[in-house]
Subunit: 312 residues, 2 copies
């Protein structure tokens, strides 16, 4: 089943201990759609400027990602510059130029309207909500957010959370959103805000899914009363952490969308595929690794993740 994703398509200038790359193709919707495209059809809603040319378009086309929802506007694309010199787990932002993104009004192509899955990548919750409301018939909605929206746009964000099947955020965001430093208590607090399921990403330590009694309401299976934890791969070198969380979301949601129903067993596999895609994303700058990736490499790493954590 097809996924529609709304989010940023951007250019990033990134400095890490491994080096520096200027104006890589980036943005949450880009990483998400590349990662998800290995599992299912993906359709992007975003806005770009005049600096988004055939070379960038080709990155999406090579993965057969539908770009009819990427609007071209006068001006420059969203630009971000940051570094990870002190800490690979946390970017230091130097420049954020919203550019054409400042006036973004998401428009949903008619060809996208039969999408059964919707991913609301990290953008203004007002826009997330608008897209959600414009696609009332989707089967499953997942979303992401960040500290900026939690801190200064909480009321709008809470409206979005009410309609989410799955919220994917990191430890710091979960603790901040719930106002509680204990992860289990914070998870309960976040679930009470609306998301049926919460996936908390721990960077190099993997990710944990917390379930509510509404998590698998459609599957007819028993309630899962305990969390589920997917590992991350201990990596020799993290070249560029940018987009790891969005790639996790793409692998996770892409796998779910490729399945006929959401069951606890499918959900656990989706968590592993999320971790697998995150582990590839950080191996090269920007989206370079996702662009050259093969499905066989994904399947091999999935097996490795199983061996990494399974007793037998």
């Amino acid at each position: 089943m097809a996924i529609t994703v709304v989010g940023s398509v951007a250019f990033d200038s990134i400095e890490t201990p491994a080096g520096r790359q200027d104006r890589c193709l980036g943005g949450a919707a880009t990483y998400f759609s590349l990662a998800a495209s290995f599992f299912t059809d993906v359709r992007v809603i975003a806005v770009v400027g005049e600096d988004f040319g055939p070379a960038e378009e080709a990155v999406f086309n090579a993965r057969r990602i539908d770009t009819r929802g990427i609007e071209r506007a006068a001006g420059k694309s969203f630009f971000w510059e940051g570094s990870y010199l002190d800490n690979l787990n946390e970017a230091k932002t130097h420049i954020t130029d919203l550019n054409v993104f400042a006036a973004f009004e998401p428009k949903i192509p008619d060809a996208y309207r039969d999408s059964e899955f919707l991913f609301l990548a990290n953008i203004d919750p007002v826009l997330q909500r608008r897209v959600r409301e414009a696609m009332p018939d989707v089967k499953l909605v997942a979303g992401d957010t960040m500290n900026y929206w939690i801190k200064d746009h909480l009321a709008a964000l809470k409206q979005v959370l009410k309609g989410l099947d799955v919220l994917l955020i990191n430890d710091t965001e979960a603790r901040m959103l719930a106002g509680n430093n204990n992860l289990v208590q914070a998870a309960r607090g976040v679930l009470a805000m609306g998301p049926k399921t919460l996936v908390v990403k721990h960077g190099e330590y993997g990710a944990t899914a917390f379930f509510s009694d509404r998590s698998f309401s459609g599957s007819g299976e028993a309630l899962v009363s305990h969390p589920f934890r997917a590992p991350a791969l201990p990596l020799e070198e993290v070249v560029d952490p940018t987009g790891a969380g969005d790639s996790f979301a793409g692998g996770f949601f892409g796998y779910l969308a490729s399945q006929s129903e959401l069951t606890p067993a499918k959900f656990r596999r989706a968590m592993f595929y999320g971790s697998v895609m995150g582990s590839f994303a950080v191996e090269r700058f920007g989206t370079a690794r996702l662009q050259e990736l093969t499905r066989q490499e994904i399947d091999e790493r999935f097996i490795l993740f199983r061996e990494l954590t399974h007793l037998d």
Copy 2:
């Protein structure tokens, strides 16, 4: 098979967000031996002062731990006071009174000499080495250390590392010991110093074992080329993190000592049992939870840890 453990038996005054407890029975050898005692016979080598009375002795006796190697000296037992008010993952030390521990000369009772397993808990590496050399016939030796010994007693520590089958330390210690911030590279550096296998404890994120080509040299099984990661249990409340790492070591090494040989499959289960014992230790102040624990609870939590991470 029996384990001999050398390390501290102490009194701790501990403050955490959950409250405060004065002069709990503590010390690395105490946590280790209580945790390991659920799996195999344990024999302790330590020194205590005149403040170690029948009540403390009874804690060991209740678990049938051999205390003939706990020497009574004139003066007071090792005392530590610390708090975890800002960060449950890192203790802030207020007082360290070595007391009788300052002149500790480990003596090995004859009754301990047929122990096939030896655990060198976190003490002066000069003492660790002395005990190791006094027990040349043990089958498997594991050990722990801390930042203090890495920083200021590295030469002595390196002598100990050469003779270890398994070293158990935390992330910070592994990175400090190898002088490398990347965990995979740090692990390779530490393994090059001598330990056949390295277990890195990640606190609330579990633990990762890194293997060398000498890890399972006696088992006749194929080399394990990738790490293994055991989860930790996302806990509603961490009452007191003190002793979690020592309890992990006790569960891990106790399980191994209860098995007839060290194979990759046994090793993976040992990692899970380590995590299980660590997860119990933090549920109450000091050793209170380990004292009241039952084997059935351990087995139930082992199953939970499997469900927490396994796909099927």
